[in-house]
């Protein structure tokens, strides 16, 4: 299915968009999302080596499951303050 991953800061700039639209079979894990994004969003390759995912507004480890309806975001370097 098609899912949307929110992008911010340098990742939004690199992708030229505030979200990445990715094809991924659900349910899946964050690790599978990361792999699918590497293949489908090459502009984000550098960030995908280390950036964290947030699932429903909380940081998620790579083995965390994701399903339809989850809000997904790729969080690279933040710069608040």
């Amino acid at each position: 299915m098609r899912i949307s991953v929110k992008l911010f800061g340098a990742e939004a700039l690199a992708a030229g968009a505030a979200e990445a639209v990715i094809d991924l079979d659900m349910p899946a894990t964050c690790a599978e999302l990361r792999k699918a994004m590497r293949a489908q969003a090459p502009a984000l390759a550098a960030s995908l080596d280390w950036a964290r995912f947030a699932v429903n507004g909380r940081y998620a480890s790579d083995d965390e499951p994701i399903g339809p309806g989850d809000e997904l975001a790729l969080i690279g370097l933040v710069s608040g303050g």
């Binding site: 911010f8 947030a54 507004g57 909380r58 975001a73 969080i75 710069s79 608040g80 303050g81």
Partner: protein, 131 residues
């Protein structure tokens, strides 16, 4: 805004207003306040403002969680956080952390740790608006 007796977190559109009046009940012997102010250049190039983006509600939740963790670890009395989103002009305040504590040392250590962890974990981003 997320509030308990001991913790306040607020993300505000545009520059932060002046520091709010603080509770004067005499419980805190020390208040340490950090204010981040927009500087007139970024990497040597003049700017007119910074524009902040916050991923909400995650940003507020992360700030509140961090405030609670710092409050407990350092034995503080109050932790109040304010952060801007949107555009903040040069010279204006975009971030304020106010720590109330019985004594000074733990407040200073807590402030340093809070800001380090915020800059790692809280989903807020800034971009320059060139002059």
């Amino acid at each position: 805004m997320r509030t308990t007796d001991a913790i306040k977190v607020r993300i505000t559109d545009g520059p932060l207003p002046d520091a709010p009046a603080r509770n004067a009940d005499g419980e805190c012997g020390a208040w340490v306040v950090f204010e981040g102010v927009v500087r007139r250049d970024e990497g040597g190039r003049a700017i007119s403002a910074l524009r902040y983006t916050a991923y909400e509600p995650m940003a507020t939740n992360q700030l509140a969680e961090l405030a609670g963790s710092i409050l407990n670890t350092h034995g503080l009395v109050r932790v109040e956080v304010e952060h801007s989103r949107g555009q903040v002009p040069v010279g204006a305040c975009s971030f304020r952390l106010s720590i109330g504590s019985a004594h000074r040392k733990e407040a200073l250590a807590a402030m340093d740790e809070f800001i380090d962890r915020m800059k790692q974990d809280v989903p807020i981003w800034k971009e320059p608006v060139w002059a």
